[in-house]
């Protein structure tokens, strides 16, 4: 293990976080809030620590996949820990465990909160809380890659460990350029949504906060009622559309820019993703029309928003879906396991994996009928290699295993089965709100400390696609003798 380069990259990451904290500091100054001090202390600490780490001499610049995994996994824990400091120092969230939970929830774009009444918190603190969504959405290390001088070959190992999806590919030969392209698309969508929300007569501050929550598919709001605080249908529709847009593979925006229409229309993952959304919206609309909501438009709006919010793993709410029919709740529960597309900011299992698994099942069936048939599993007309298929299948199993084990441990809290399962599903899938005890109007504040830590771990598991964190827990990984 090349510890020198690991520490150096982590040092750069902390320096980068210090730079990111300047933004909420600016907000604190603008609104003349006392929380500015909390940010200043954190920034100073990060600069000293990060500066020292970045100066560590390293023997070689080589980052192999092992180093890449360690950098990404420990990087996320470090950034979460230091990102939690402003909450504690300011006193907004006195407990360090709670603050850690909140920051992990922000960075992993989960949006699960332990704050019962957010409306009383200082604006700059809320800004930082939402800004973590934006930073974590596309991957904070990928962002560091785009901004810092090229780490070169090793950059790809970091990218591979951090970006979601079964296979990560570069768009252009240069890793740094790839990171820049992805972030350009990300920033572009962010700016577009802020402008659209400004048209909806939101203040710049509110527009920015809800945009961070949307494009990062996070779900932190500044109102206890989430988006439900806005009466305007325009805002609801705009946010719905941008949630869906953020669940799309960002490399498709590059194809869009290059006018490769064929690539976009023929993308089977995108087609399945949009089909699932359309079908879910239809089912919920017809199920609820006349029963829960009176007008058709209102029903459609609520169905669209909740569907988009859950499938993209954002977790915003305009309404308490606990009041919906059981069937509609069931549809939402199913969507919790779908997630966005690979290479998007969404979490959960991802559409592409389900698509591969679906095709695998079809293949098995046809193999029963024709035992000697040779049937390749194709996505977008290209054959998927057996390695990838095996990876996807074991990912799926591991996901379910974590869900079951996690729910078992959470059920020690003495909350109902639905609450236990949905709390783990909502954190592992980076969604945020679940059902019942952790429903859209509830928070995670009542959980005990061990449960909060477990759920934080689940969020990291989900965001970094299980294996990255899992490997770190394996003794073999650290055993240099082999």
């Amino acid at each position: 293990m090349n510890y020198g380069i690991v520490i150096k990259v982590l040092g750069n990451l902390l320096l980068f976080e210090a730079a990111a904290l300047l933004l909420p500091l600016g907000v604190a100054f603008y609104y003349r809030e006392n929380s500015a001090l909390a940010f200043i202390y954190t920034i100073l600490l990060l600069i000293i620590l990060g500066g020292m780490m970045a100066k560590i001499p390293h023997v070689s610049k080589k980052i192999r996949s092992k180093e890449g995994l360690v950098i990404v996994a420990s990087g996320w824990v470090f950034v979460s820990f230091f990102g939690a400091l402003p909450f504690v120092l300011d006193g907004s969230i006195p407990s360090i465990i709670d603050a850690f939970f909140e920051t992990v929830s922000g960075l992993t774009t989960t949006g699960a909160t332990i704050i019962d009444n957010i409306e009383v918190l200082p604006r700059s603190i809320l800004f930082w809380r939402s800004f973590t969504h934006w930073l974590g959405g596309m991957g904070i290390l990928v962002l560091t890659l785009a901004v810092l001088p090229a780490i070169g070959v090793g950059g790809f190992q970091i990218f591979k460990a951090e970006s979601p999806g079964p296979v990560s590919d570069k768009l252009v030969p240069r890793m740094r350029k790839t990171a820049t392209i992805l972030y350009t698309a990300y920033v572009g969508i962010t700016l577009l949504q802020i402008i659209m929300l400004l048209f909806g007569r939101l203040s710049l501050y509110e527009a920015a906060i809800h945009t961070f929550g949307t494009v990062g598919t996070g779900g932190f709001s500044i109102y206890n009622n989430s988006i439900g605080a806005y009466r305007s249908s325009y805002v609801v529709i705009v946010i719905s559309i941008f949630m869906i847009a953020s669940g799309v593979n960002f490399s498709l925006y590059y194809e869009l820019y290059k006018r490769n229409w064929k690539e976009i229309f023929k993308n089977s993952e995108l087609r399945l993703y949009l089909s699932i959304i359309a079908l879910s919206v239809l089912l919920i609309t017809f199920n609820l029309y006349g029963k829960v909501y009176v007008t058709f438009f209102e029903t459609f709006k609520q169905a669209l928003f909740q569907t988009a919010s859950i499938i993209t793993t954002t977790g915003y709410a305009t309404t308490n879906y606990e009041e919906w029919t059981h069937f509609s709740q069931g549809v939402l529960f199913f969507l919790m396991f779908v997630g966005g597309c690979a290479g998007s900011t969404g979490g959960s299992i991802k559409v592409i994996r389900l698509l591969i698994l679906l095709k695998l099942v079809i293949r098995e069936i046809s193999k029963i009928l024709h035992p000697r048939a040779v049937v390749p599993v194709r996505i977008n007309g290209k054959m998927i290699s057996p390695d990838v298929i095996a990876g996807v299948s074991s990912f799926f199993f591991l996901y379910l295993l974590l869900l079951v084990m996690g729910s078992l441990l959470i059920s020690l809290e003495g909350i109902g089965l639905v609450s236990s399962i949905s709390s783990v599903a909502a954190t592992l899938g980076n969604i945020g709100p679940g059902f019942d005890f952790v429903g859209p109007t509830q928070t995670y504040s009542a959980f005990s400390v061990p449960s909060k830590l477990l759920l934080s771990l689940m969020m990291l598991f989900g965001r970094l696609e299980l294996y990255t964190i899992f490997i770190l827990l394996m003794p073999d990984f650290w055993n240099e003798r082999i």
Binding site: S65, F156, V172
Partner: protein, 468 residues
């Protein structure tokens, strides 16, 4: 510069590595996903699993806006086809590898009629390199720069008397020579006055050619200066064919030992002279009965690096004066100097440097890679707008890894010190670690945007060829 490399074998990998280390966008196409995975995990390039001869593949990569296509697949015919398609589709430059000796005399025809810009033949290049070494009378292998006025040579310290244990400043060289680098255990060290030379080191000396010869006289254990008259070649592959032809042409007697009967027949039929022996080259009895100790030189060109290295050691022990081994994988380079073999030629690096030299065109006069690509030596003509002109070297603030080895000013060789000044038009021989190649541009070329910058970008970033 946008480059597409078709074929991810040893040469493809080496080229991708050299090109991607600088400001080039490199795409590697291969049909084997394992090959691609290795490239993909180690280099910052884009890999595509496809057939490079397919128009569709090349068009998807926007071949018309490409600057360079290098076709280095295993098949000559595929390479030619890829090159033709690429050229017809508007790629600026295409390079193909053609290695079949039966095509060798029609290469010029192929090149001109099919509009391929450059054709490389690794075996031929290797043979040329070996012949150059064998036919030169000096005992040390010397690399020529500045039209042969300046040379660079490697000396193994254990062969020199009275150097090991000394510090650089204590050498007290009478001749104007510069120790540009020391290789120690496969690593390159840039020496200072205080650097101590160990007996296991190899030192790289640069200076006027005559001075280097003087130096070898003063320090070296007695060098035999007899000319090479009898050469034994092991292995009967393509490079053997080329080398045998070259040596025969120069009146050298050759013996070839080859295991395959058919191949022996082929060689005997096609070579105009020389003795072809059917047998196992690793058989010591055969070697002794063929008078190995009587040979002036032994060249081991079998398909196995390990075999080549071991036979060379054996030959050295039998008292053969010059021993050359072919080593295709760069993995062994760090240990070769410790083995005590005079010269190891690496066809991959030789070919890579050929290609890079071609890409760079006239900008860099000569380029040579050392130690498997860890360092390179470039000959650059100083431009009057570049940063290095008109200032004392000590004021330039050159990075540690860049050393100005010699300057050819108005036909005079200058071994520079801190007070030397480079004038426009001088030929500057620069020794540069691979890690610093990127910063060379900053010092040696104009730093301007637009078209000129593009040109510089297309120049810089190549490198690698080690010959010996």
């Amino acid at each position: 510069m946008r480059t597409i490399i078709v074929g991810g074998g040893k040469l493809g990998y080496k080229l991708a590595e050299s090109l991607s280390q600088e400001d080039n966008d490199v795409v590697v196409i291969d049909i084997d996903s394992n090959t691609l995975e290795r490239i993909h995990d180690n280099l910052d390039v884009l890999t595509i699993k496809a057939n490079g001869t397919q128009l569709h593949t090349l068009e998807q990569l926007h071949i018309s806006s490409c600057d360079l296509v290098v076709a280095v697949t295993g098949s000559d015919e595929t390479n030619i086809l890829v090159s033709i398609i690429a050229k017809k589709k508007g790629c600026k430059k295409v390079i193909a590898r053609i290695r079949n000796p039966e095509y060798a005399n029609q290469v010029e025809f192929i090149r001109s009629t099919m509009e391929i810009d450059y054709i490389v033949n690794p075996e031929l290049a290797t043979a040329k390199e070996i012949a150059k070494y064998l036919l030169k009378s000096q005992a040390v292998y010397m690399e020529d720069f500045a039209k042969g006025k300046i040379g660079m040579a490697d000396f193994r310290v254990q062969n020199l008397t009275g150097i090991a244990g000394k510090k650089i400043r204590e050498l007290g060289m009478t001749e104007p020579l510069l120790v540009v680098a020391i290789s120690r255990n496969g690593e390159v060290i840039i020496p200072y006055g205080d650097t101590e030379i160990l007996s296991t080191d190899t030192i790289h000396l640069m200076g006027q050619k005559e001075s280097i010869k003087e130096f070898s006289k003063n320090y070296d254990s007695p060098i035999s200066r007899r000319n090479v008259r009898k050469v034994l070649i092991l292995g009967g592959g393509r490079s053997t064919y080329y080398l045998a032809n070259k040596l025969l042409h120069n009146g050298v007697d050759i013996k070839i030992i080859e295991q395959d009967k058919e191949r022996c027949k082929y060689l005997a039929e096609n070579l105009k002279g020389g003795l072809v022996i059917h047998g196992d080259g690793t058989d010591i009895n055969l070697l002794t009965s063929e008078n190995i100790s009587d040979m002036d030189a032994l060249v081991s060109l079998t398909g196995f690096d390990e075999e080549n290295l071991l036979i060379s050691l054996l030959a050295k022990q039998c008292g053969v004066d010059k021993v050359v081994a072919k080593v295709s994988r760069s993995n062994y380079i760090p240990i070769i100097e410790q083995l005590g073999i005079d010269t190891a030629v690496n066809p991959i690096l030789i070919t890579a440097s050929d290609i890079l030299r071609f890409i760079q065109g006239g900008r860099v006069v000569s380029i040579s890679l050392l130690l498997g690509g860890k360092a390179e030596v470039l000959e650059i003509i100083a431009h009057n707008e570049s940063k290095i002109v008109g200032k004392k070297l000590s004021q330039l603030g050159l990075p540690k890894g860049i050393i100005i080895g010699s300057i050819l000013h108005e036909n005079k060789v200058i071994i520079p010190d801190g007070d030397s000044i480079i004038h426009a038009g001088d030929r500057v021989i620069v020794f540069c670690l691979q890690s610093e190649v990127a910063s060379l541009e900053k010092y040696f070329y104009r730093a301007k945007g637009g078209l000129i910058n593009e040109l510089w970008n297309s120049y810089k970033g190549f490198g690698k060829s080690t010959s010996v």
